[in-house]
Amino acid sequence: MIDFGYTLTRDRQLDYDRGDFRYLKLVKSLEPSMDLCIGCGSCTATCSAAGFTNFNIRRLHTVIRRGDPESIKAELKKCMFCGKCQLVCPRGVNLRNLILAMNRAIEILG
């Protein structure tokens, strides 16, 4: 391939009609406070696991919301479950339980 000095980024367009929202539905029923999130990123900023690797808890629940749960499956395993994220969340999202709920969704839906 000819090097033009730039690359193309992957298509990041979200097609809501083709999204997989089964995860969202299940996770939300298990942890309704998920809806309170404003995407501020405090959870990620304080995350213990994020101190060692590029793990982004906010991204995980955001992609579930967007109907693209595939990418979280491997990522979620990095969480140490320490609970710091939930202590700093300004919206009172019960993040630890949300993480459990996401785990549960993966268990149930594959």
Binding site: S33, T46, F55, K78, M80, C82
Partner: protein, 616 residues
């Protein structure tokens, strides 16, 4: 002398049934014990001191109900009058029956129904000083004792708040039948003995004789037949009670006896459950003490998840997930439980079943050599949310000239306990191995942590060959060794016992002693083993943040009743949780100690404060 009548049959059959049932239950529990525990048991029952200790506890807890007395005297009296009164009735009844019958062995029903068979009259004046009269007095007295407990029990069901109890437990079918029988047993005995004594003009004591005379006088009809009817009823309810017992809550009585023996032999609950835990489940008397102890109940109105309900659903072989998960594992109920059931362990067994399926991947963790030191300081994840704690600790280390290493300065690998609280022991063990290697590599002799959660898991799961201290112990030691000199600031403070440090780690004295040196420590209503949880517990899952806030606010109200200057705690999570909702300043004990070093060279302008934004 005639020693038999048809009416003794229901009782006798019931007795045979219950004895067989108890023996079979005991056999099954013992047989199902893991091999190691069996060894402990057989060694234990051959050690006289352990047998004696078991007997003593059986007497004190099974009959006198000492722990219940301490908690709630009225309830204690109620249970004691039943258990101890009934026990004495049996013993004395047996002795009394010997007076009339020289045989060494009587049919078991004979002493129970003695007054049916024996009703001779004590006519002469001096006869009230004879042995039979003595027994008549004692037996009536004991009957009255039991009946007084019965009256209390009846009032309790109607008016449980008189007992200081907000909740009383629910019953199933077998419980109801057994309970009805139990309530009838002693009134029936009273009526049967009274009518007999009244009819024969003899055989009764101060209670049954007088009542009998009166009853015979005022009731029309053949008194002998009425008496006979009550003897039948008495025997029937006794027999029915015995037959219902294995299926009802009352099975807790024989179960608890065996549990006490197990415990004295050193048998402990196992992570995945064992017949010890099954026995604990059957030993719960459903007294409801755990409901009243639980903050989720009295502060947040959640009254379906407490130990008694957990245990009930365990007995029914199915624990709903929300009962397992909705609990702060604060240990208050466990501390209060008069049977001493390890409630937290029971709940964790269930959590392990739920949580074990999920896997983790910590392959991203690397293990750079942390360096060497005499003392390793592990602040813990939570302390990173309250940076004033590690700042104070580092300041103190420097003041005291300690060769220390702040091992998680750049981020902690979680200690593993939060994962364990969710039942994920396997994943936790991976983190534990990592931290263990890190700590070992430093070749330190002492590990100091600021977090009681870490402290507990370090001690219980890490198997480290070095000393482990929470900073409250460590700081006290520094003061005693003269490494730091403190000057009291004379602020009025109250101390909050963190769950994992107090009930979980049994450290109550060190922080108080330390605070006594640097401030004016004031008492709070609920402290030490009865201390409240801050509400921030990582064990509580599946409830909204509002529930946590309700618990926190309630705890704050109780702690701040005396309007102190500062609320002091010894846990970063408690501090973080309280700070969110407290109007009074909340500080960690380490910060206070740091402030109290008058000569400190590492002074930071002003007092150490968390750089926190308060949103109100």
């Amino acid at each position: 002398m005639i020693k038999f009548n048809l009416f003794v049959l229901p009782f006798s059959l019931g007795l045979i049934y219950i004895v067989t049932s108890i023996v079979m239950h005991y056999y099954r529990w013992i047989k199902a014990l893991p091999a190691v525990d069996k060894v402990k048991l057989s060694a234990g029952i051959r050690t006289p001191s352990k047998v004696l200790a078991s007997l003593k506890e059986i007497f004190l807890e099974g009959l006198i109900h000492r722990k219940l007395w301490k908690r709630n005297p009225l309830l204690g009296y109620m249970h004691m009058s039943f258990a101890f009164g009934w026990f004495l009735l049996i013993v004395m009844g047996n002795l009394e029956s010997r007076v009339y019958h020289g045989a060494y062995i009587n049919a078991p029903y004979y002493p129970i129904f003695l007054k049916f068979f024996i009703h001779d009259r004590l006519v002469l004046f001096f006869e009230i000083f004879t042995v039979p009269a003595f027994f008549r007095f004692i037996m009536d007295f004991l009957l009255l004792f039991v009946l007084s407990g019965l009256v209390l029990a009846w009032i309790k069901r109607k008016q449980s708040k008189w007992f200081g109890m907000k909740q009383t437990t629910m019953h199933n079918f077998f419980d109801r039948v057994a309970l009805s029988c139990l309530w009838l047993i002693f009134p029936m005995r009273l009526l049967a003995e009274s009518y007999t004594a009244g009819y024969f003009h003899g055989g009764g004591g101060f209670l049954t004789q007088n009542l009998g005379n009166l009853l015979v006088m005022i009731t029309p009809g053949p008194a002998e037949l009425i008496a006979y009817f009550f003897w039948w009823t008495y025997s029937l309810v006794l027999g029915l009670f015995f037959i219902m017992m294995p299926y009802s809550r009352y099975m807790h009585i024989p179960s608890e006896l065996l549990l006490i023996v197990f415990r004295h032999c050193g048998i402990q609950p196992r992570k995945w459950g064992s017949s010890f835990s099954d026995l604990e489940v059957r030993s719960c008397s459903r007294c409801g003490v755990c409901i009243d102890a639980c903050q989720l109940n009295f502060a947040a109105g959640i009254n379906t998840i407490q130990a008694v309900y957990l245990i009930r659903s365990q007995r029914e072989q199915y624990i709903p997930e929300n009962i397992a998960q909705t609990c702060m594992l604060c240990g208050r109920c466990q501390e209060a439980c008069p049977v001493g059931i390890k409630i937290d362990s029971l709940r964790l067994i269930k959590r392990r079943e739920i949580g074990s399926g999920q896997v983790s991947d910590f392959s991203y963790l690397t293990n750079p050599h942390p360096g060497f030191a005499d003392v390793v300081y592990f602040a813990g994840c939570m302390s990173q949310l309250t940076p004033s704690i590690p700042i104070a600790m580092e300041g103190i280390f420097k003041e005291a000239g300690i060769n220390y290493l702040f091992i998680d300065r750049n981020g902690s690998i979680c200690c593993g306990r939060p994962l364990m609280l969710a039942g994920k022991d396997k994943q936790a063990n991976e983190l534990i191995e990592f931290n263990k290697t890190l700590i070992r590599q430093t070749r330190a002799k002492l590990l100091v942590t600021s977090c009681p959660i870490c402290y507990k898991v370090f001690r219980e799961e890490y198997n480290l060959p070095i000393r482990i201290q929470h900073h409250s112990q460590y700081l006290l030691e520094l003061v005693k060794d003269g490494k730091i000199a403190l000057q009291s600031q004379h602020r009025r403070v109250v101390y909050h016992d963190p769950c994992d440090l107090g009930r979980g780690g049994n450290i109550y004295q060190a922080p108080r002693e330390l605070l006594g040196k640097i401030s004016d420590l004031e008492p709070v209503e609920k402290d030490r083993t009865n201390a409240l949880c801050c509400g921030g517990s990582l064990a509580l899952m599946g409830t909204s943040m509002r529930t946590k806030d309700e618990v926190t606010l309630d705890a704050l109200e109780s702690l701040l009743a005396g309007d102190p200057d500062i609320l002091v705690t010894a846990c970063p999570l408690c501090k973080k949780t309280f700070s969110k909702l407290s109007k009074t300043e909340v500080r960690d004990i380490a910060e206070l100690v740091y402030d109290a070093i008058p000569s400190r060279k590492t002074r930071i302008a002003g007092t150490v404060k968390d750089p926190e934004v308060v949103i109100s």
